[in-house]
Amino acid sequence: MTHAAGDVVTAGHIHQSKAQFYWVWGALLGLTLVEIMLAYNQVFPPLRMLIVLLILSIIKSALIIGYFMHLKFEAKRMKWFLMVAVCFCLVMMCIFFFDAWRIHTPWFYW
């Protein structure tokens, strides 16, 4: 169990209990069931369904990143650096969604 010289080790995951992991796993399964029920019953039209499913997916991904990937327990600067970088790039991609909506909602076109 040797580590490279100069590495400063944070052992955040050691402070996490098994019970917490089981709770997160249960929450992820529960949210997945909600998604399936929404799609099965076709509760919303496509655009609204996309937004609802995206929100639920973002909550699930936050649970995975925070607890399973231990980012919640990392140094603040690492959390901010990683999350701001990836969110910025993905949001920049999503700007083009306005073009997809414009095609069948002409009033949306500025």
């Binding site: 169990m1 040797t2 580590h3 490279a4 010289a5 100069g6 590495d7 400063v8 080790v9 944070t10 052992a11 995951h13 050691i14 996490q16 098994k18 992991f21 089981y22 796993w25 992820l28 399964l29 997945t32 998604e35 399936i36 929404l38 799609a39 099965y40 019953n41 076709q42 496509p46 655009l47 369904m49 996309l50 499913l53 995206l54 639920l56 997916s57 699930k60 991904s61 995975i64 990143i65 607890y67 399973f68 990937m69 990392e74 140094a75 600067r77 690492m78 650096f81 990683l82 990836v86 790039c89 993905l90 991609m93 083009f96 969604f97 073009d99 997809a100 909506w101 095609i103 069948h104």
Partner: protein, 266 residues
């Protein structure tokens, strides 16, 4: 800066501590995940753009497909739980349970890949094809006219669906090979070789697994023979980061690809 380095060297330290207050392997894996998330982001964007902009976008996933994809999601979520258990066991220094949990993770991952490839096999047999296979669009016994029409009229559907899910399946397969290297080391190589040979005779998309596993076998052999080492708790944690990322990507693919293209008939 030079003074700081000299002071560290005087105390026997070769490097300055990381700015992120963690070890270098973990930072490296996070940077890889960052770049890979953009690849999947672009593919998911392409699929979702087509889904919203095209009113004639196919909705070919019936209840059987949704049930299958839900079981696959359960497999991946459970594999993430077994992976964090492996990380916990590794941090306690419990080698036996670390290996057991890693093998359980590999098992759930393999279950996911098998179900997914079987799903692909069924869709291809029923007529859902990539746009490049135009000659295969003829109606034959066993093909579903709905899938043939979808492949012919909206070729973007097959293109984005197979690229996105294929890319993800490739990542899961790489993850299983990676976990095998960490859990079993050189014992993994003959097993991987046998799996590759089994894939050679397998039908449909399973056959292409041969090439993936063969490349995996070559890379795993290079790693295990040129740099044999005892994998530490840090290595297990870094492996876990990769595995959870693969799970994370599926949390977007499942709703955006499958649930947004359902056709439920009550």
């Amino acid at each position: 800066m030079a003074d700081a380095v000299l002071i560290h060297q005087a105390h026997g330290e070769a490097y300055e501590p990381s700015w992120f207050r963690t070890y270098s392997k973990k930072i490296g894996m996070w940077l890889f995940i960052l770049s890979d998330s953009l690849t999947f982001g672009a593919l998911l964007f392409a699929y979702s753009y087509g889904r919203i902009s095209n009113p004639a976008w196919p909705t070919p996933f019936h209840i059987e497909s949704i049930r299958n994809a839900s079981i696959m999601t359960g497999f991946l979520l459970t594999s993430s739980l077994t992976m964090v258990m492996a990380v916990l066991a590794a941090s306690r220094g419990d080698r036996a349970w670390t290996r057991n949990w890693l093998l359980a993770t590999m098992g759930f991952g393999a279950g996911f890949v098998l179900l997914h490839a079987a799903e692909w096999n069924k869709l291809i047999d029923e007529g859902l094809r990539l746009p490049i296979f135009q000659t295969l669009f003829d109606l034959k016994p066993g093909t579903n006219p709905e899938y043939v029409a979808a492949s012919r009229n909206v070729p973007q559907f097959g293109g984005t669906f197979f690229t996105l899910t294929g890319m993800h399946m490739l990542h899961v397969t790489i993850g299983i090979v990676y976990l095998g290297v960490v859990a079993l080391r050189k014992i993994w190589l003959p097993i991987l070789g046998l799996l590759a040979i089994a894939c050679w005779w397998a039908p449909g998309p399973f056959h292409y697994g041969f090439y993936v596993l063969l490349i995996g076998l070559v890379i795993a052999s290079i790693v295990l023979f040129l740099k044999p080492m005892d994998y530490s708790d840090h290595d297990i944690e870094v492996t876990g980061l990769y595995w959870h990322f693969v799970d994370l990507v599926w949390m977007f693919i499942f709703p955006l690809v499958y649930l947004m293209s359902t056709k439920i008939t009550h």
